[in-house]
């Protein structure tokens, strides 16, 4: 007959709220244990500025540029694939060029003179990371970036985007070790033809791509002509043909 009683199920529902109330406090949990009521293990509030939530390793926020060793030795070759693929178009890249307008090469690789990401537009989708053939751009998990000015503080330039590979290994150990393995395998592949022609010194080599190739042509060296649509497959640092 309890079913007919008006308000009985309201009271039962209140029992649920009372139980949840008890679960919120240590003494309440003790009471529940004594009464042998199974606890459903609610979530504990994280007192944010003092305590920070543990993020999972894959947590992504904004992208950053990875460098090995010194900040001059960044992996990015200014191929502009990420700029092209970025859905909200928040990346802006300018390739480093000399007075004649030819791309400057360091260790056989071109460099970005300018690499800006407008973080107020970025939607953290990770597509730039997926498309980068050089593993030069990765997702950061630093999130406390609020600023009072959009253009001054949220437009990240190259200096602000650069972060070391050690930092990457620290925030995302699994992904970073995978990337390192992949890069080492690529290096091994490209080292073999380079050893066959040890005379070709990397720094003084002229640009392999003809002037008409445009900035999108990656420094592959193996591709004879300009290939604006095809993405480069491997970062072969010293062009063997040169």
């Amino acid at each position: 007959m309890a079913r007919r009683l008006v308000g009985f199920h309201v009271l039962r529902g209140m029992g649920v709220t009372l139980k949840t109330f008890c679960e919120t406090y240590p003494w309440g949990r003790a009471v529940l244990r004594v009464l042998r009521i199974p606890s459903t293990n609610g979530l504990v509030t994280i007192e944010y500025p003092e305590v920070k939530q543990q993020h999972s390793e894959r947590f992504r926020y904004f992208p950053f540029l990875v460098y090995d060793g010194t900040p001059d030795d960044l992996r990015c070759v200014a191929c502009k694939i990420c700029e092209q693929e970025c859905p909200p178009q928040c990346i802006h890249i300018v390739m480093e060029k000399d007075a004649q307008g030819r791309p400057v090469k360091v260790h056989g690789r071109t460099l970005p003179a300018q690499f800006d990401i407008d973080m107020s537009i970025c939607m953290s989708c990770r597509i730039c990371v997926d498309v980068c053939p050089f593993d030069a751009i990765e997702m950061d998990n630093a999130y406390e970036l609020s600023a009072s000015d959009r253009f001054e503080h949220m437009l990240f330039d190259k200096q602000r985007l650069l972060k070391s590979n050690e930092y990457f290994q620290q925030i995302k150990p699994t992904e970073a070790s995978e990337v390192d393995q992949r890069l080492a395998a690529k290096q091994k592949k490209t080292a073999a033809p380079a050893q066959a022609q040890p005379a070709s010194a990397a720094p003084s080599s002229p640009p392999a791509a003809p002037p008409g190739a445009g900035p999108a042509a990656p420094p592959t060296g193996r591709t004879p002509g300009p290939q604006p649509t095809g993405p480069p497959r491997a970062p072969q640092s010293p062009p063997p043909g040169a």
Partner: protein
Amino acid sequence: MSPEIDTRPQVETQTLEVNLGPQHPSTHGVFRMVATLDGETVIRLKPVMGYMHRNHEKIAEGLTYIGCFPYTDRLDYFCAMTNNLALAVAIERLAGIQVSERGEYIRVIMAELTRLVNHTAVTGFLLNDMGAFGTPLLYAFREREKILDLFEAASGSRMMCNYVRPGGVREDLPAGWVERAWEIVRAYPKFLDEFETLLTKNDIILQRTQQVGKLPQPLAVSAGITGPMLRASGVNYDIRKVDGYSVYPRVQFKVPLGTVGDVYDRYLIRILEMRESLKILEQALQALPTTSPSISPKGAAMGKAPRTFRPPKGHAYGRIEAPKGELGFFLVSDGSPQPYRYRIRPPSFINLTVLEDMCLGQKVADVIVILGSIDIVLCEVDR
């Protein structure tokens, strides 16, 4: 004075036009209802939408197919995974991409977890609309939080997942993910029992929801209503069963159906669907293959170089049973890397069309409850 003239005192009544929204917490976003009231009874209701229009369909025509995925996350922000899945299904139909076995299972697991997230949250919001401020909603959000943590572990983001790709999923599941998913699947029925103790037979809820906002079966069918709303009216139509896409034909589950089609039925259908989702999850987690890759080679190549992906000329419509109803993407390809036409069939928008029919003759306080029971997300309505 002639005897024909009625001399009894007359009360002159007027109808009152009330604007509910656009900045109103009960409208679940920026949505306006212009209700014409006679006393407290609604005699006319005009929905006004478009405040959240973001031009997604036109923007997508300038993007690569992969580039559209992050925008689909922002359609129905509760169900990013199923939005991704619907677009992936449409692209697979367009280009004939095979999905890897493991990818299919991961997708189904993610889709059903999304259904849990959506139905839990919408039930909490429905109660919020009835005046139970906070309590049921926060219980719902507590459980949602646990699933969002799972999404973050797999995809890197809690809500804007951008995880499903044509051919499978973007990354494989991280180590220990399946165990964490099992924990949630095992603990969820207890939460549902507790939630139902709190709500299902509660006298106040019965009073507020039963026989309110009835949607007759013929109207539901002719208006193109889909999802839990249609099934609450007693129509057995679930695209997981009808189309049998992905691995749904291989798992056992039932389609709960309502009888009356009122707000209470819509609430109850969602609770029952969550229980069925848990059954699907159990079977999918059990059968998750470990050997095959999470994405097929063609899909992986497409993800690495989106601009090289040029589907053949033609068109395709891919649809799935999203938590809110039938979510479909219609794509027209002209052979270029960008879609020529990109059209979304949003369940929220089409389910919203019967709002006036359900509200006529009801009290103004019920309008809020009826709107809550439709389960709309304005970002999806306006796109």
